[in-house]
């Protein structure tokens, strides 16, 4: 579908609002989209400040408390309402069975000092939003097979799962815009070469390409490097589609009168591309990005799920789900499936937001 461009992007219309302002207003009217945006914002916020929100560090494990159910938080005691507290649990005879010990009451402390961490790589701190004194763990979402707090891992895993898509889409967009722009604007030999490359990439089913690329990555790379490589693989697979559409858009804009006018006035190529052509692709790019991010998130979790993506001990929602793939675990320890729920919520929110954006920015579709 060709996107029909409007010339009046920068011209003020009667009501005194620019078209963009009108579009935004339309967006804000959409309650669903707003809620979705809010959820996304919260998730990213939690992920960025994960070390603060999480009671423990990413690798902390309570080796005797594996598969521990979520700790119940109590708000009342025999005297009525109190500050929240938990009971300690003891390991019972048998395996992965825990008994609540009502003798041991542990109040939940806020702004507690715990494992130290570096925020954003700059600030050192050891303050956590909440925690519990002594060695008694607080597992608000339960613990996994190594005795690690699931809530902590979900937060840290969120960093991976949420940002991989985010960063990948930036790279994809960047490359797609450049390649598509050059291809459409200059045409000729460069156009042919780039478009042939696009065709090759788009002719391989994306998952097969991902599979092959991910399978050749050695597993013992540092997790940061691996993260970077997975992002690159996703982007490598994604830029082609975008480049092709951008090229189409550029081609049609190229023949518009105002471009000829700009040329006649002496504007150089770079200026024309940057100031006139690319902005008209903005709508498409924004919509496409919002729709592509959930795709990337699902691809990364899929890869991690089958063991080719992010590796232990790093957490990613996908590899956490992979560890849950067992009927005993799912029936006896169902909290292990929560990462799946988080993936679902994130993807759902992006889809709703994307849909709302599309309605607002481009009412024709």
């Amino acid at each position: 579908m060709q996107h029909k461009l409007k010339l009046d992007d920068q011209i003020k219309v009667n009501s005194g609002k620019t078209l963009w302002q009108k579009k935004l207003a339309r967006l804000f009217k959409n309650k669903f989209a707003l809620t979705a945006a809010l959820i996304i914002f919260i998730l990213y916020f939690l992920a960025i400040f994960a070390p603060f929100f999480a009671p423990y560090s990413a690798t902390k494990n309570f080796k005797n408390k594996f598969f521990h159910p979520p700790t119940k938080i109590h708000f009342t005691d025999e005297n009525g309402l109190t500050l929240p507290y938990i009971y300690g649990t003891e390991v019972k005879e048998g395996w992965a069975e825990y008994e609540i010990n009502k003798e041991q009451k542990y109040p939940i402390k806020f702004w507690k000092q715990g494992d130290s961490y570096q925020l954003l790589g700059i600030f050192e701190s050891n303050i956590h939003l909440f925690g519990v004194e002594a060695d008694q763990p607080i597992f608000i979402l339960g613990s996994d097979n190594y005795g690690r707090d699931l809530f902590t891992r979900i937060l840290y895993g969120g960093r991976v799962s949420l940002f991989i898509g985010f960063i990948a889409i930036f790279i994809t967009t960047f490359i797609g815009l450049i390649m598509g722009g050059i291809s459409g604007y200059y045409g000729g030999f460069i156009d042919s070469v780039i478009m042939r490359a696009v065709e090759v990439i788009m002719s391989i089913p994306s998952f097969y390409l991902l599979l092959a690329l991910a399978a050749v990555l050695p597993l013992d790379l540092s997790s940061a490097f691996r993260f970077f490589l997975i992002v690159s693989i996703l982007a490598f697979q994604g830029w082609a589609g975008m480049a092709r559409v951008i090229r189409g858009m550029v081609l049609s804009v190229k023949s518009e009168d105002y471009i000829a006018a700009a040329k006649a006035l002496g504007a150089n190529d770079k200026r024309i591309i940057l100031k006139h052509i690319l902005p008209s692709t903005a709508t498409y790019v924004i919509i496409r990005a919002t729709i592509a991010i959930p795709g990337y998130i699902i691809m990364e979790s899929g890869l991690s799920f089958i063991g080719l993506g992010i590796q232990e001990p790093s957490a990613s929602w996908g590899n956490m789900l992979s560890a849950a793939q067992n009927i005993t675990k799912i029936s006896d320890f169902p909290w292990l499936l929560l990462p799946g729920l988080f993936i679902f919520i994130t993807v759902l929110s992006y889809n709703i937001l994307g849909d709302g954006l599309r309605d607002a920015l481009d009412p024709k579709s």
Partner: protein, 571 residues
């Protein structure tokens, strides 16, 4: 008068010959309860076979189809006692000096196409194994002192092997499957043996002496087998075994799928994983199956440090050699192994602590009195101090020359148990101030590092043991290429490795069981003392078996189907 005697004599001889012709079989009668004939057994397989040619098969997914079911050896081991039992050979003699083995073949055994099994087949099988153009693992293990034994046919039912010197493990090698000369000789002659009996061979072509023959194979789906109508074993009533007519083996791509299939009632038995044990055991009460705990399995998992002076990394990090060859260091690591947590977390509570290189399940050779290192971080710290290590004010461990102790520990990705073990070990070592970079890597890469590049720091890996200790020569002898901490040595690097070499040579040459046990006992003591590898825990062999499958005797060694020829299905 003489005429009468002669006539009688001739008559007697005649009758004798006739009865001899009718009774040429050396019977084997099942001692278990008489069962019903008929039925279809359904089990699972973890992976497709890559070939039906048992001689060149290299992976268990192939040999598990053929060995013991389609093909048999001269000798086999009893699934319960693990002792040698006659199979295609009804008996054998060993000469005083242990160099000559004479096998008396069972008479009247027929291949699944009706042809008779004779010494020609045995000779042919060993001709093939000996052939350098055939890529088979059986050849090397048969060599004694680098030489393949001599063998010859004495008569139609007798074969004799002559070894360069006495070699106790020889009988173990005689469990090798025998292949039919009449089906494969011409292919071998034409040099096409390596391409015969691949997975798209017409099942009719695959002929063996075993209880079952191949009937169908669908890639990725299932293997179908049916009973061999010419099979030589009999039930108590004299009727030919096996009882079960058909055997369908479903290919499942994961242990998870196997579990699901069993729980949906579709298969007759399941190798239960530790994590499912408790749940399945509870289900067994209301269902038509029972759960068997067959005790520790024959597999081992251990940590090995790189003590190879040829390690290319030593050019950059020479101090690692000092650490890993320091016995106090290794002892400290051993004391830091929290084996109870390993059993709880990695094996879901279903396991046993391991201290010796011989599998716990190996009742014959296990030495229970080797040195143990019960979990004790204090003792670990003492050992480190003894070894010249110390801690800085951040609690980090330093060696005598102030190098921070940091190294990598790898294991193969995808193996949940091993990944779990690495996680536990690394945690404890971090408590001691070491910096451990633990990561799972591809199996292929790990193998490369261990066997050719020699550039690892430490690896957690496992091996499956057997009953015969000599099978481990590649690992324990100093020139072995699986002598992981320092492989393919030209001369033994240490006194104790030299002693182990001697023990293995002596153990193989000694024929007296008592003597052999003494040698291998000492070998286990040395390993526990010097810790070239540090053992972890052994999983238990757990099986769930449907009540309708009768006559089973489930063991860690034999599994469920070692005596499939006498198992039957009750309606």
């Amino acid at each position: 008068m003489t005429k009468k005697i002669i006539t009688i004599l001739i008559l007697v001889l005649f009758i004798f010959n006739i009865s001899a012709a009718a009774e040429l079989k050396d019977p084997w009668i099942s001692k278990k309860e008489q069962g019903q004939h008929g039925g279809t057994l359904i089990t699972t397989l973890l992976g497709d076979p890559k070939t039906f040619n048992t001689i060149i098969a290299k992976e268990t997914s192939s040999s598990t189809i053929t060995d013991g079911y389609i093909f048999e050896g001269l000798v086999t081991r009893n699934g319960v006692t693990t002792e040698y039992e006659p199979e295609l050979a009804k008996s054998w003699d060993i000469s005083e000096d242990g160099r000559k083995y004479t096998f008396y073949l069972r008479k009247g055994v027929q291949w699944s196409d009706g042809e008779e099994f004779t010494a020609d087949d045995v000779i042919f099988t060993f001709d093939v194994i000996k052939d350098e153009n055939i890529p088979t693992s059986s050849r090397d293990v048969l060599k004694v002192k680098g030489e393949f034994p001599e063998y010859k046919k004495i008569d139609k039912y007798t074969v004799e092997f002559t070894l360069p010197e006495s070699f106790a493990p020889f009988l173990n090698n005689m469990t090798a499957p025998i292949i039919p000369k009449h089906k494969l000789y011409s292919a071998w002659q034409k040099g096409k043996f390596n391409n015969t009996w691949g997975i798209n061979t017409d099942p009719e072509e695959i002929v063996g002496t075993g209880p079952y023959k191949l009937v169908d194979y669908k890639n990725g789906e299932r293997v179908v087998m049916e009973k061999n109508n010419y099979y030589w074993r009999q039930d108590p009533n004299g009727r030919s075994l096996p009882y079960i007519n058909r055997w369908i083996r479903v290919i499942a791509e994961s242990q998870e799928t196997e579990s699901l299939l069993f729980e949906k009632g579709q298969t007759h038995y399941l190798a239960v994983r530790g994590i499912d044990y408790r749940r399945i055991k509870t289900e067994a009460e209301n269902n038509n199956f029972s759960v068997v705990d067959a005790g520790p399995a024959f597999s081992t998992n251990f940590l090995v440090f790189n003590m190879n002076p040829r390690n290319p990394n030593l050019k950059i990090e020479p101090y690692k050699y000092e650490w890993f060859t320091n016995l106090n260091f290794r002892r400290a690591v051993a004391y830091a192994f929290d084996k109870q947590t390993m059993i709880n977390q990695a094996l879901a509570g279903q396991g046993t602590k391991q201290w010796s290189p011989i599998s716990i399940a190996n009742k014959v050779y296990l030495n229970e009195d080797v040195k143990r290192y019960p979990y004790n971080l204090e003792k670990a710290r003492e050992e480190l101090e003894k070894g010249g290590f110390k801690w800085n004010e951040n609690g980090e461990l330093l060696d005598a020359k102030n190098n921070k102790v940091e190294f990598t520990m790898v294991t193969n990705a995808g193996n949940n148990v091993r990944e779990s073990l690495v996680n536990i070990i690394a945690s404890e070592l971090r408590e001691l101030g070491m910096t451990v970079n633990s990561t799972p890597i591809e199996f292929n890469k790990m193998v490369n590092q261990l066997s050719s590049e020699w550039n690892f720091d430490s690896v957690l890996i496992g091996l499956t043991g057997g009953v015969e200790p000599h099978q481990g020569t590649n690992v324990w002898m100093s020139n072995g290429h699986l002598h992981m901490w320092n492989p393919v040595q030209e001369e033994p690097a240490t006194e104790w490795e030299k002693r182990i070499d001697e023990l293995f040579v002596k153990g193989a040459a000694a024929v007296d069981q008592e003597k052999r046990k003494k040698y291998y006992d000492e070998f286990q003591e040395i390993v526990a003392e010097k810790l070239p590898v540090i053992y972890t825990v052994t999983p238990n062999s757990l099986y769930a078996v449907r009540d309708s499958l009768k006559n089973t005797e489930v063991t860690a060694y034999g599994g469920v189907l070692w005596n499939i020829h006498e198992l039957y299905l009750e309606d």
